[in-house]
């Protein structure tokens, strides 16, 4: 029996279609994986289902009733519960207060029946196999406990269909096992799940069926046991996922970036010479000092000792503007906080850095800027309708390309990239790798800080491994394997040698 049927759903935002005839059918008592890259339309579809967004065209049938265009409240009452990616709990309230929020049990005079609520809460927790004290403050709970609390809340009010949006991002493996066990139990009782995730192993573990969306279109759906992870991935990303291994050794130029005995806030005595056209991967555990090193070279963090030479000339007095003048660029991590100018257009977001270098010509020549934008757009493959659109209208991967353009537009030669694929989906990641290789081919020198070793494997000529602020090992491209890198990054090698001697 189908609990939910969404037929031919259409939705546009200011004329830009984001859903083009999407179909989604969920059977009762199944876990249904909703798959697609960022920007495929998953969240929009879910927001239509829960009544957050109106739809332009199509039909929604839930539990045998036509519920097209229902409100948030109506969808909740029908039994659709959205367990959000960013949890929507009140940290300063107790667990049971969160569950009963806005639906408190009251006596006739309006006072709260606290004991009864706590008791009922405890029963649900027991049923779910959750070990949470109903009177615990939510802020004292772990991420996984919060997650189960949200699920408990949905179950308590008799949700029939639960939407889990990337529920495992903040969870450890044991916690994921626990979550999946809860899901299995609820499935037995006939609850249905829409499971949104990018992690293939989890999808293949928990899901019964799947639906793939791409660019707002319904691509295919079927039983999970009839497909492989590779097949699903290629269906998700479409044609863009053909470049498996594009790394090729390049001819490198002279030294363009020389760090000698560099010390700063989180790193010490770093000596590294980087040649023109080279791609260096910097990695290490969280807090190993790699991000701080890049920020220091860019002049954002203070230099405590040592020297930086760029194109053979010393980079005196570290400041961002001086680094930029020496053709050094820095793409910071955490795009939303450190890169995005949310109120400004795509074009303005690209031009902002170049304008600080060309400030002696104070007037903007719009036509020339647009011409430069068009070149960058086609070079980087930015998917955008109009340079005057807000940068926030783009998907994560395209936003990141805009910020690459911001620095390419300054004619920077040395690109420092801090976690450049953060918050970007698989297909866009592949495009970013391709872009990095293409830029190096064109003579740009690139330093990438990342903890994703496969990323380094795909692009880097050399991998520089940090441990606690110091370089412990430099691997050549052929030597980079996940295993070796982890050995050095966790300092397991030194410990091993130490015990032997």
């Amino acid at each position: 029996m189908d609990i939910l049927e969404m037929r031919n759903i259409h939705k546009s935002f200011v004329g830009v279609p984001v859903l083009k005839g999407v179909e989604l059918t969920i059977r009762q008592g199944e876990v249904h994986a909703l798959l697609g890259e960022n920007g495929a339309g998953k969240s929009t579809l879910m927001n239509i289902l829960t009544g957050l967004l109106p739809l332009d065209d199509g039909q929604v049938i839930f539990d045998g009733r036509d519920v097209t265009g229902c409100s948030i409240r109506e969808s909740e009452e029908m039994g659709i519960a959205f367990v959000h990616q960013e949890l929507s709990l009140f940290n300063d309230l107790q667990a049971y207060e969160n569950i009963f929020f806005n639906k408190e049990l009251k006596t006739k005079t309006g006072t709260l029946k606290k004991r009864e609520m706590i008791q009922k809460c405890r029963e649900v927790f027991q049923k779910l196999g959750v070990d949470i004290d109903p009177t615990a403050l939510v802020q004292t709970l772990s991420a996984s406990e919060k997650q189960t609390l949200e699920i408990a809340k949905a179950i308590f009010f008799e949700a029939k269909l639960l939407i889990l949006d990337e529920p495992t991002t903040a969870l450890s493996n044991a916690e994921i096992d626990h979550l999946f066990k809860i899901m299995e139990n609820l499935k037995e009782e006939g609850k249905s799940f829409i499971f949104i995730s990018h992690k293939m192993p989890e999808i293949f573990r928990i899901a019964d069926r799947y639906t793939v969306l791409r660019n707002g279109e319904f691509i295919q759906s079927g039983n999970i046991k009839d497909v492989t992870a590779q097949e699903v991935t290629s269906v998700m990303v479409g044609s863009s996922f053909s470049n498996a291994e594009t790394y090729q050794p390049r001819k490198l130029g002279e030294n363009v970036l020389e760090l000698s005995d560099l010390s700063g806030d989180a790193f010490d005595d770093v000596t590294l010479n980087v040649r023109k056209g080279e791609i260096i991967g910097l990695t290490g555990l969280q807090g190993a000092g790699t991000s701080e090193l890049l920020q220091c070279v860019f002049g954002e963090l203070p230099l405590r000792g040592g020297a930086i030479r760029v194109f053979g000339k010393p980079l005196e007095k570290n400041s961002i503007h001086r680094a930029m003048k020496k053709k050094v660029a820095f793409l910071p991590s955490n795009r939303k906080e450190n890169s995005v100018l949310p109120d400004m257009s795509i074009l303005e977001n690209i031009d902002v850095s170049e304008h600080t270098l060309s400030a002696s010509h104070p007037i903007i020549r719009k036509r020339r800027e647009i011409a430069k934008y068009e070149t960058l757009k086609s070079q980087l493959g930015i998917k955008a309708n109009n340079p005057g659109d807000l940068v926030m209208s783009l998907s994560g991967g395209n936003q990141q390309k805009v910020f690459f353009s911001r620095w390419l537009n300054t004619n920077a030669e040395i690109l420092l990239l801090d976690n450049p694929t953060q918050g970007i989906d698989v297909g866009a990641k592949a495009e970013i790798y391709k872009l990095i290789l293409m830029l190096a081919e064109g003579g740009k020198t690139i330093l990438i800080n990342t903890q994703e070793i496969p990323e380094i494997q795909r692009v880097a000529d050399r991998c520089v491994i940090f441990y606690s602020g110091k370089i412990v090992k430099i691997l050549q491209h052929d030597e980079i394997t996940e295993h070796t890198v982890m050995l050095y990054a966790t300092n397991a090698i030194e410990v091993g040698e130490g015990t032997q001697s």
Binding site: V14, P332, S345, T356, S393
Partner: protein, 339 residues
């Protein structure tokens, strides 16, 4: 995706962005009705009376675009006009008075800017403090100066009646092409600053700082100095406003000249559709914001109510206007949703 889809708005034309024109037209029609026999001079007078506060509003607009605020512009106006009048009485030179007003306004604005930009103190507190300082100093100096320098007995300044004074007064109350000179100067400043805000790299930097200061810094913008510059520029504009005031009025009361003008300027900026959070809005709206405020004054004068109720009416109109701007789009959205 959920965030991006919700913010999938375009930085292009929409009626909501231009509600300030509507507000101005409504107010103007009301004025036209209540004044009975409105003549051309009555219309041009709106421009004339908007000149001083309008000039201040443009500085305020730039500051609010960067996400800051300046509570001292009214005090700068009063202080510069007071000392400017003093300089005039001492030198009897229009040119020196003008140069002094420009330089002194710039200096007072620079002091604000240095505190806020360089030493990273909160703008609200710094300009609240300098508002008190600038006004108090001018009152104190006025009180201790002999009457022959002040040009009048009591706690005010008056320009001594000389040929230069008459020339300046004639300039301040004269006309160019049938329009009041001071109003034309205001419009020229407005056009210049609108151009700066939309078509220069400096203008875009101010928007970038107001939109996301961390990202602006990481993109290479010198946030400190751009902050200093925008407060300094506002000081200069207040200096221009002070000179226009002198030319139009010929006298200054350090205790009341420019009082509450920072609030009128903020109101004009907000009526003009610029967001207090920074990074959003266009300066062109500030012209209409400032004109709207003057029209309200005129309406109140025309219907002959007690002038003490003036600010209450202005406040009420501000609330109505902001409600239209904020609630209007929400109504539109929910109407769209019901469809």
């Amino acid at each position: 995706m959920s965030q991006t889809s919700l913010t999938k708005k375009k930085a292009r034309f929409s009626i909501g962005q231009y509600s300030y024109i509507l507000i101005f037209l409504v107010l103007f029609l009301v004025y036209y009705k209540v004044s009975g026999h409105l003549q051309w001079t009555g219309v041009t007078n709106i421009l004339r009376h908007s000149a001083v506060v309008g000039t201040l509003s443009f500085g305020m607009g730039l500051i609010i675009i960067t996400g800051d605020i300046d509570l001292s512009v009214g005090a700068i106006l009063g202080c510069v006009a007071s000392f400017g009048c003093l300089i005039f009485n001492l030198t009897d030179s229009i040119l020196l008075t003008l140069l002094f007003c420009l330089a002194f306004g710039t200096l007072l604005g620079f002091f604000n800017g240095a505190m806020i930009g360089k030493f990273k103190l909160p703008a609200f507190i710094v300009t609240l403090a300098t508002q008190l300082i600038y006004r108090s100093v001018s009152q104190y100096v006025c009180n201790i100066l002999p009457n022959d320098i002040k040009g009048v007995s009591g706690n005010t300044f008056k320009m001594l009646t000389t040929d230069s004074r008459n020339a300046m007064y004639a300039f301040g109350n004269g006309q160019i092409l049938g329009l009041p000179t001071c109003g034309v100067i205001f419009l020229l400043i407005a056009v210049l600053l609108i151009y700066v805000s939309t078509s220069t790299k400096y203008g875009k930097r101010l928007y970038a700082i107001g939109s996301n200061v961390k990202a602006a810094h990481m993109a290479g913008i010198n946030v400190e100095w751009n902050r200093v510059s925008v407060f300094t520029l506002t000081g200069l504009l207040a200096g221009i406003g002070a000179f226009l005031w002198l030319a139009m009025q010929g006298n200054v009361d350090p205790a009341t000249t420019g009082i509450n003008n920072e609030m009128f300027a903020i109101a004009a900026v907000v009526l003009g559709g610029i967001a207090m959070s920074g990074g959003k809005g266009r300066l062109v709206g500030v012209i209409f914001g400032a004109l709207s405020y003057t029209v309200i004054d005129k309406i109140i004068a025309a219907v002959k109510v007690d002038s003490l109720i003036n600010n209450a009416i202005k406040g009420a109109i501000l609330i109505v206007a902001i409600t239209i701007q904020v609630v209007g789009p929400q109504i539109k959205r929910s109407a769209h949703k019901k469809k």
